[in-house]
């Protein structure tokens, strides 16, 4: 047990090889002295976070536009020819914009390769579209809609938003979106419908993110209004849900993140695995 107090009592040392005359469960004042909390903390500014949340909204816009286009085609408001021509024109314009932005001094060979890829894809897509259409035709519509919902949700979850988290898998995200488009394509009347929808899905989910990353200007407002209008003409309930979702992600989530910052509790101390200093 502890020694009787003597005035010349030496300071307790954090060593194991000396018998310091105290019991083994003695707690010194220097206990947890070397613990440091919240060393590498980031401070967030509300409007900066709101601007950054835009990245997530852009992908959500893509998903909503896609679903709205499907419903328009199903209601025969949108013809497959119009969709195909519009999406091809926008893709070509986007391609040129991308080329200009990147200032690629690449040889025309790369352009030729891209052209060939596009040609092969179009031909293959067109010839396989009867198969694509009948692939999921026998499944009931409810199941199709449920599967589409989950696939598009997976697309949103695994999409690469610019961080290097473990959950990011660009390939899985794209595959989920294309599978969703095939599911929906089977509900459309003709192969021409199916082909144009799948091509549109590819352009929207595979090519548009690439251009989006390079553009670096916020098209939010324009795109947001396009989505709102197209969804509104399909269903008024959907547009309300969309606007609420928009509000939640753009305003509420940043506010919530900032409100939770004071609860941060990162503990550092001598027990941490050492980081090799160069």
């Amino acid at each position: 047990m502890a020694m009787s107090c003597d005035r010349s009592r030496k300071k307790w040392q954090k060593v194991l090889y000396k018998d310091q005359g105290v019991s083994d469960n003695y707690v010194d004042e220097s206990f947890l002295e070397e613990m440091k909390k919240n060393l590498h903390i980031r401070t967030y500014e509300f409007w900066a976070v709101v601007r950054e949340s835009n990245v997530v909204m852009q992908q959500i816009y893509s998903v909503w536009i896609f679903v709205a286009v499907y419903f328009h085609m199903r209601n025969f408001v949108l013809t497959p020819q119009f969709l195909f021509e519009m999406s091809s024109a926008v893709t070509i314009v986007g391609y040129i914009v991308n080329f200009v932005i990147l200032h690629e001094n690449a040889l025309t060979k790369s352009r030729w390769k891209d052209g060939k890829t596009m040609g092969i894809f179009l031909i293959l897509g067109f010839s396989l579209s009867p198969i694509l259409m009948t692939l999921t035709k026998t499944i009931s519509t409810d199941t199709i809609y449920a599967m589409t919902f989950f696939m598009l949700l997976a697309n949103l979850l695994f999409h690469d938003y610019g961080t290097d988290a473990a959950i990011v898998s660009q390939a899985f995200s794209l595959n989920a979106a294309i599978f969703a488009s095939i599911c929906l394509a089977s509900r459309l009347p003709t192969t021409w419908h199916a082909f144009s929808l799948v091509t549109f899905a590819f352009e929207l989910f595979a090519l548009w993110p690439i251009l989006r990353r390079n553009l670096k200007i916020i098209l939010s407002f324009l795109l947001g209004s396009v989505v709102t209008v197209s969804v509104a003409t399909v269903s008024s309930v959907a547009v309300v849900v969309f606007l609420l979702l928009h509000l939640f992600i753009t305003i509420l989530c940043p506010a919530w993140l900032i409100r939770l910052q004071p609860y941060k509790n990162n503990i550092h101390g001598p027990w941490d695995e050492a980081v090799i200093k160069q």
């Binding site: 954090k14 194991l16 090889y17 707690v27 947890l32 101390g269 027990w271 050492a274």
Partner: protein, 444 residues
């Protein structure tokens, strides 16, 4: 006061390691002091059932196979009947679990507390807080430590770490360091090469043990001192890095890679050295440096975890975990060696022999046992209350598990009543009979 102690862990003989030898040595010393000790562990291949080790140490190899990382599958409730049976048969009054990685130890402590048997837990390692696996492990540890009567840690840093992880009262944690059997690790001067200065490294060649640091330190030291040679014992994924260094700098005659060194051959390798180099990035106690000091080597080590607490400054040179700092410390140690300013090997050995003994560990552990035996019983309501404090959602889950375990215990008591369970023979009585000419000791 003499106790009946049950040591539980997934890690025991025939596995060789730090935790294993800790349990064995502690058990032997406690038996010497007159307590009854049994060990409970899982089956190792065909080795299942009851075996006796020296001095009547009874080992229960439960018929459960290890699943992952030499541990059994954690099922919480299925180990209750067998543990209850063992604790009743052997009239155990203290259960002592070892190692936070061991599912069997944590479950046994839980069952012991459900049966109102006192429990002690020894933590041998350091954990982080931030990554996913640490968060889950720490939650499970909170659950275990909420029920335990006392905890033992092998160093002060380990105590701080355990208190933060398990959210227990620091006065419920005792610091009892590891020890080394100094009679095995004796120095000899004949094995050493007098012309050269030999640096010995004895560790697994993995990232955690600082194999990258080692790879960057070796060429620097070899270029500064022409009479220095390295002997590296141990194997692992980073062995390739060391071999590459050897190839690149043409140091074939100055670096010897021995591969995996068996436990009985460690001393033979250690006595060939003048300096022992340890480059670990994290260590709770590091028994290797004490073994090296016992063999008379000067130690150079990274100052991480509990290492600064283990040896006095004249026996160890501490360095930051960076190549430059290690090279500097090695230079100092080499200079001291050249000027014969180091502690003599016999002096170092005597110091270790007197300071880190298993008898001392057993004595201090006995104090812990006495203290918890004298403590008042905790009611079921109090226990559930403590589990509830583990977290908002987790607390409720833990209460449910604890209550269910209690009900299962009542069921076990009804199916196989306490009075029908035969009590096992107490080996202490056998030892006393032994002096009368009856030798019933079996060793395996």
């Amino acid at each position: 006061m003499k106790h009946s102690i049950c040591m539980v862990s997934d890690f025991f003989y025939p596995n060789i390691g730090g935790v294993e030898s800790h349990i064995y040595q502690l058990s032997q010393c406690l038996i010497e002091r007159g307590h009854k000790v049994i060990v409970v562990t899982h089956a190792y291949g065909n080795r299942s059932g009851i075996r006796y080790l020296s001095n009547g140490l009874k080992v229960y190899y439960l018929p459960i196979q290890p699943v992952y990382n030499q541990c059994i599958l954690p099922t919480v409730f299925t180990t209750l009947p067998v543990i209850r049976n063992i604790l009743l048969r052997e009239s155990i009054n203290i259960v002592h679990g070892h190692s936070a990685f061991s599912a069997l130890a944590l479950e046994s402590i839980f069952h012991a507390r459900t049966m109102n048997v006192k429990a002690v837990f020894t933590d041998h390692s350091l954990f982080g807080f931030a990554d996913l696996s640490s968060i889950l492990t720490n939650k499970i540890l909170k659950f275990s430590l909420a029920g335990v009567n006392h905890a033992i840690c092998v160093s002060h840093t380990c105590k701080e770490n355990t208190v933060l992880r398990g959210k227990i009262d620091p006065s419920d944690v005792s610091v009892i360091p590891n020890a080394v059997d100094a009679s095995i690790f004796t120095p000899t001067s004949t094995e050493r090469d007098p012309e050269k200065i030999t640096i010995v490294v004895m560790s697994r060649l993995v990232y955690r043990k600082g194999a990258d640091l080692l790879a960057s330190v070796i060429p620097e030291i070899c270029s500064r001192h022409s009479d220095v040679q390295f002997i590296i014992g141990g194997d692992g994924p980073k062995r390739l890095a060391i071999e590459e260094v050897r190839e690149h700098f043409q140091l074939h005659d100055r670096i010897r890679l021995l591969g995996t060194v068996g436990h009985s051959a460690v001393r033979q390798v250690l006595v060939r050295g003048d300096i022992f180099l340890n480059t670990s990035l994290t260590e709770a106690f590091c028994i290797a440096i004490v073994e090296a000091a016992s063999c008379g080597l000067q130690v150079v080590s990274t100052s991480v975890g509990g290492i600064p607490e283990v040896l006095p400054p004249d026996m160890i040179q501490l360095a930051e975990p960076s190549a430059t700092s290690l090279v500097e410390s090695l230079d100092k140690a080499i200079a001291k060696r050249r000027n014969c300013q180091l502690l003599s090997p016999d002096g170092a050995h005597d110091w270790v022999r007197k300071t880190y003994t298993w008898q001392n560990v057993a004595e201090r552990t006995e104090i812990v046992y006495d203290k918890i035996s004298a403590a008042t019983e905790v009611t079921l309501a109090d226990r559930l209350h403590r589990y509830n404090k583990c977290g908002l959602v987790a607390g409720k889950i833990f209460i449910f598990i604890a209550a269910l375990n209690y009900l299962l215990l009542i069921l076990c008591n009804w199916i196989s009543p306490v009075q029908n369970i035969d009590l096992a023979i107490d080996c202490r009585k056998l030892r006393r009979l032994k002096t009368g000419g009856v030798n019933l000791e079996q060793s395996s």
